[in-house]
């Protein structure tokens, strides 16, 4: 094999280049020596000590950070819950005044939902997915790190605000107009809107990353239908996040615009509608519940089979059930709005979907029961890593929490069906019955499974075996305390106790029920303390865990050591059967010896294999980025944007946004992409690097569909959901808000609209031409060939941006009516996207100039082309939106 032609661009290129093409599968002669291979891979993958930890991008480290940080927020929100229970323990309590109490219950809900539940499962998924899928890391490790910092900073912002006494106080669903400026004049609501949006960036980036990782970063041979079921769960969840979170992001931005600039999106005096907020919030809020439940269910579907020693029963039915659940969960949101006076027919639609979701839930529950029923009669070693296996105990600690899950979640599911029934909900809505129900569902459907998952994967994550009666004691305290706290709330609620009251009179008859709740909640808190202390003791003094302690059947246990090394696998396995029926014990030593795909260390590259989506055929070698401070700096700059917005220093916000942009432009630099590594003579099979086991694969920089293109596709889904929510919101207002049509209809000049349409079409055409030109050119000529088209695309986008600005300037004052405010929002969306299109064109020009683009390496041009291809139809819809809005408003106004 000949060496690929290359340009020496990086400082280490000389040193590594010799190794690059030298050996086919064993360039450094390490293949059969696991220790040498381990050392070589560690040098490449390890995160440095001290401050360099801040540069960590490794999924094991970032995943752990997500989980630990989430647990800290759990402790904070749990403490707030204790304060709530102290307040409500006795009638006419004076422990907290109502304003403070409002901050406490708002923060309890907000922190538990946004800063505990979502980041915890994101962290677990990030930690587990590459290991389960047989990859070395997530697809975009820097995105993981950036998402983590955004989460940490956004969460810290909320907590600091609370400590400063400026926490939001409108309840975790922030209903307008209570959260609007006149009724929440302080900074608290802004903290919520901006802080949560900041954290949502992290959720969207995690969703993109999880989807792309599952779709293409799997072990060779792991086709979709061989994937462990946890990957199906996370794929579904991530897809739901892409569609479910944008409505909330949009709602938050609109509400912040109303609070800061007086754009009346939710103000009925200006053609807005408080119900628009409720629709946007619950359009996010209900899928959110399933987004939290499904990862936990995925953990159950993974660990119950391990306990049973059998594969999951009904794998296909379970996958079908969870996809069905994902869809149904988007048809439930109005069941939070039964009392808003909608027609019964509308309510009935949502009631039907809400009850129907019980079916896929039941399918999963009975699949788990069926798996348990098929349990191997003689458990033997799977009794777990406890030193003297307690023979009398029928279940391990994880299975104890699985019992907690069954008991609590089934009850929560049953009350959920009750609440889906309109006439009953009209009584129970907004009472403590709902408080009971949601805690049964979330603690049953998330916390107990996550505790089970925690005990199950503790040996993997920490390398420590877990022993202990303390864990069992902790479980029973939490279980008893939980039921004591929340079961009685069903009754308290039906006896008329509304949510969020800070005090109640003795004549209500609620006092002893509340006292029972409060006392039990302290039992539960003690249980959590026991679990925490036990976990800390295990970390400090626990025995070292043995490999694959549970005799599991998935790849995460085939890592070479516990906890896993930073490179995860020394070689990637070839999968030839279902990946939830493997034998990690047999696979691990082979992989550690480098017997598998990419069992090599070369060029200082962090390599993993990318496969085809459906069949799992190896398709490319993905070279992952090294540890870097860029995510930290970018997140800090992003934080500066949000802080400037919070304190209304808008020039600083724009400046910080530019810094974010410049930092992001520094991300794509990857020295391997500065040359055509695979440009070998066609006779040699062309375009490939040796990957071991006789495989030759192109680098991702030269592959037709590299991971970055997948990421843009996923982002486009989220972006489309955002635009759809905005257009839905506008049409909703035009149709049913008071004060429509506006007294003076906002007339837009025709010229800029036509200009924008033509400019976008031109930019799209130019972007296509750029790719074709580069494809035809040879070597460095690509730069010269594609540059004119890139300049044209840049010009087209700038023209579209200018046209959007022209149209916005032509609108009547935005504060006077929601009609122009909505049109302005849509045009700002379009203008921003044209701006990003321009940035992508500048990026392409820069990369052309620096030689990162050739006929084979066209990712920068492909990103630009994909962006313009999506922007053109979206832009035409936005440009047609004013006419749609007007037609609908006039039709509604003409109604009898």
């Amino acid at each position: 094999m000949t060496n690929p032609p290359r340009r020496q661009t990086a400082s280490d290129a000389t040193q590594t280049a010799a190794a690059a093409g030298a050996g086919v599968s064993d360039p450094l002669g390490l293949g059969s020596d696991p220790l040498a291979l381990d050392a070589a891979l560690r040098r490449i993958w390890a995160t440095g000590p001290g401050w360099q930890r801040l540069a960590a991008v490794n999924h094991s480290i970032v995943g752990r950070r997500f989980m630990v940080t989430a647990l800290v927020f759990f402790a904070i929100a749990g403490t707030l819950a204790m304060l709530i229970r102290i307040q409500l323990a006795t009638p006419d309590s004076g422990f907290m005044e109502p304003g403070l109490y409002a901050q406490v219950f708002t923060m309890h809900g907000t922190v538990m939902m946004f800063l505990f539940a979502i980041p915890l499962f994101e962290g677990l998924a990030m930690y587990l997915l590459p290991k389960m899928l047989g990859a070395r890391d997530m697809a975009f490790p820097r995105m993981s790190a950036y998402g983590y910092w955004c989460y940490l900073f956004g969460g810290t912002l909320l907590i600091v605000a609370m400590l400063a006494g400026a926490a939001p106080a409108g309840g975790w669903f922030m209903y307008t107009p209570l959260s609007s400026k006149p009724w929440s004049p302080g900074i608290g609501a802004d903290v919520w809107l901006l802080g949560i949006t900041f954290v949502e960036i992290s959720a969207i980036s995690a969703a993109v990353e999880i989807t792309v990782t599952i779709l293409i970063l799997r072990a060779p041979g792991m086709s979709l239908d061989r994937m462990p079921v946890f990957a199906w769960y996370m794929l579904t969840v991530a897809a739901m996040m892409l569609v479910g979170f944008p409505p909330l992001i949009l709602g938050s931005l609109l509400l912040e615009a109303e609070r800061a600039f007086g754009l009346p999106f939710f103000d009925p005096a200006g053609g807005g509608d408080p119900l628009l907020w409720q629709h946007l919030f619950w359009l996010f809020g209900h899928p959110e519940v399933y987004i939290i439940f499904l990862p936990a269910a995925g953990a159950l579907s993974t660990l119950i089979p391990v306990f049973a020693g059998r594969p999951l029963a009904g794998y296909r039915a379970v996958v079908a059930a969870l996809v069905a659940m994902a869809f149904l969960s988007f048809g439930l949101w109005v069941h939070h709005m039964y009392a808003t006076g909608l027609p019964h027919l509308s309510l009935a639609l949502f009631s039907a979907a809400s009850t129907l979701v019980a079916v896929p839930t039941a399918v999963q529950i009975f699949a788990w029961i069926a798996t348990l029923a098929q349990r191997r009669p003689n458990p033997g070693p799977p009794a777990g890593p406890r030193a003297p296996a307690p023979v009398s105990a029928p279940v391990s600690v994880p299975m104890l929490h699985v019992f907690g899950f069954f008991f609590v979640f089934v009850m929560g599911g049953l009350t959920g069906v009750m609440l889906a029934i309109v006439p009953f909900d009209l009584q129970a809505h907004d009472t403590h019955f709902v408080v009971a129900h949601l805690h049964y569902v979330l603690i049953g459907g998330f916390l107990f499974p996550m505790l089970a998952a925690g005990y199950h994967w503790l040996p993997l994550i920490t390398g420590r075996a877990h022993d202990g009666p303390a864990a069992r004691l902790g479980f029973w305290l939490v279980f008893a305390g939980f039921n004591g706290t929340f079961f009685v709330m069903h009754v308290t609620g039906l006896m008329g106790m509304p949510r969020r009251v800070h005090a109640y009179g003795a004549e209500s008859g609620w006092h002893w029920l509340n006292l029972l709740s409060s006392v039990s909640s302290f039992v539960m808190a003690i249980g959590f303390a026991v679990i925490l202390i036990d976990a800390v003791m295990t970390l400090r003094f626990g025995r070292k865990a043995q490999a694959d302690p549970w005799q599991a059947a998935t790849l995460e246990w085939a890592v070479p050591a516990l906890p896993p090394p930073p490179y995860t696998f020394a070689a990637l396995p070839r999968i030839t059967s279902r990946a939830d029926r493997l034998e990690p014990r047999k696979i691990a030593p082979l992989l550690a010896r480098g017997e598998g795909v990419l069992g090599l260390a070369r060029n200082g590259w962090m390599e993993t294999v990318g496969v085809t989506v459906a069949g799992g055929e190896p398709e490319q070698i993905v070279i992952l980025p090294q540890q870097t401070y860029l995510p930290l700096w970018t997140a800090l700059a992003t934080g500066a944007v949000f802080l400037s917005l919070l304190f209304k220093i808008y020039p600083a916000a724009i400046l910080a946004a530019l810094v974010v942009l410049v930092l992001f432009l520094r991300w794509p630099v990857g020295e391997h992409a500065a040359a055509d590594w695979g440009a070998m003579p066609a006779t040699a099979g062309g375009g490939a690097m040796p990957a071991g086991e006789g495989l030759s694969l192109p680098l991702s920089s030269e592959a037709p569909v590299p991971p970055a293109l997948w990421a843009l596709r996923m982002l486009a889904v989220a972006d489309g959901a955002l635009l759809a929510s905005l257009l839905f919101g506008g049409l909703f207002l035009a149709l049913s808000a008071p004060g429509w049509p506006p007294p003076l209809w906002p007339a837009l000049p025709r010229a800029p609209g036509i200009l924008a349409a033509l400019a976008l079409a031109g930019a799209w055409g130019a972007a296509r031409m750029a790719g074709r030109a580069a494809g035809r050119a040879a070597g460095r000529a690509a730069g010269r060939a594609a540059a004119p088209a890139c300049v044209a695309a840049l010009a087209g986008n700038l023209a579209a941006l200018a046209a959007c600005g022209w149209m916005i300037a032509a609108l009547p004052p935005l504060q006077t009516h929601a009609a122009q405010a909505v049109l302005a929002a849509a045009l700002i969306w379009l203008g921003l996207h044209a701006l990003i299109g321009a940035v992508l064109a500048v990026n392409a020009l820069r990369r052309l100039a620096s030689g990162h683009v050739s006929a084979r390496r066209r990712i920068d041009l492909d990103l630009m082309r994909l962006w313009q291809a999506g922007l053109l139809p979206a832009g035409l819809v936005v440009l047609g939106f004013p006419a749609m809005l007007r037609a609908l408003a006039e039709a509604a106004a003409g109604a009898p």
């Binding site: 808003t340 009935a348 279940v395 009584q427 907004d430 039906l494 106790m497 209500s508 008859g509 004060g739």
Partner: protein, 228 residues
């Protein structure tokens, strides 16, 4: 109907102590669903524990049958009639048939209820006190002067939100003369807990007298502290 209206589930705001046909239907729905849910809960937990503790016996049921029976054949025959009953009941509750209703308007504001009786010229507005006739449907039309509130008289029936910029409606019936508690159910600010009102149901013939203007009860301003 077990337990309804007796013993420990009572109280001035208890939905389990109904005093009107709609609240009674809702309470009956609750007790029925509770019985069914309890049975289902016991069944699912028993099956789970059986599979967990006696796998050698439970293994004789093939997985396919577990999933098909438990996941499809168990819930669907319960959900379908429940859903149909809910629609019929919903129609009855939201649109009770009967005589021409007595009309009242209610304006919610932080943190009081202002009731007026447009159909009864000369009737005084009342604050946090609603006069209605017993045994006749009452249609309350709600508006809000500030934020979202929710109008709820648990012993008579369900809630309806008072939303700024909109008018919402609810029809309620009280069986007998008496006093019933009402409460704002949607969080509406620091005075939410005490945004309560009293409903006085009068015999038809005594209603006019109750509605006669009384020179008192000025309309409170929003700045006023919650009444307590």
């Amino acid at each position: 109907m077990p337990l309804v209206g007796c013993g420990w589930t009572g109280g001035p705001l208890s939905a389990l102590d109904p005093a009107g046909p709609q609240a009674r239907a809702m309470a009956a729905l609750w007790w029925t669903m509770l019985a069914a849910a309890a049975a289902l809960f016991v069944l699912v937990m028993a099956l789970y524990l059986w599979a967990l503790l006696r796998p050698e016996a439970a293994a004789r049921v093939p997985p396919r049958r577990w999933i098909l029976w438990g996941g499809i054949f168990l819930p669907l025959p319960i959900l379908l009639p429940l859903g149909a009953a809910a629609l019929v009941l919903g129609e009855a509750v939201l649109r009770p048939a009967g005589t021409e209703p007595f009309r009242v308007t209610a304006e919610a504001r932080q943190w009081h209820w202002l009731f007026s009786y447009p159909a009864n010229p000369g009737a005084a507005e009342s604050v946090d006190l609603l006069h209605i006739p017993a045994g006749r449907p009452v249609e309350v039309t709600l508006t809000s002067a500030d934020v979202v509130h929710s109008f709820w008289i648990p012993r008579l029936g369900g809630k309806i939100d008072a939303i700024p910029g909109r008018e919402t409606r609810i029809v309620l019936i009280a069986d007998a003369p008496g006093s019933y508690g009402g409460q704002c159910a949607e969080y509406c600010g620091t005075g939410h807990s005490f945004m309560a009102f009293e409903v006085l149901a009068h015999p038809q013939e005594a209603l006019a007298e109750a509605l006669a203007p009384v020179p008192s009860a000025p309309v409170p301003s929003t700045a006023q502290e919650p009444a307590r």
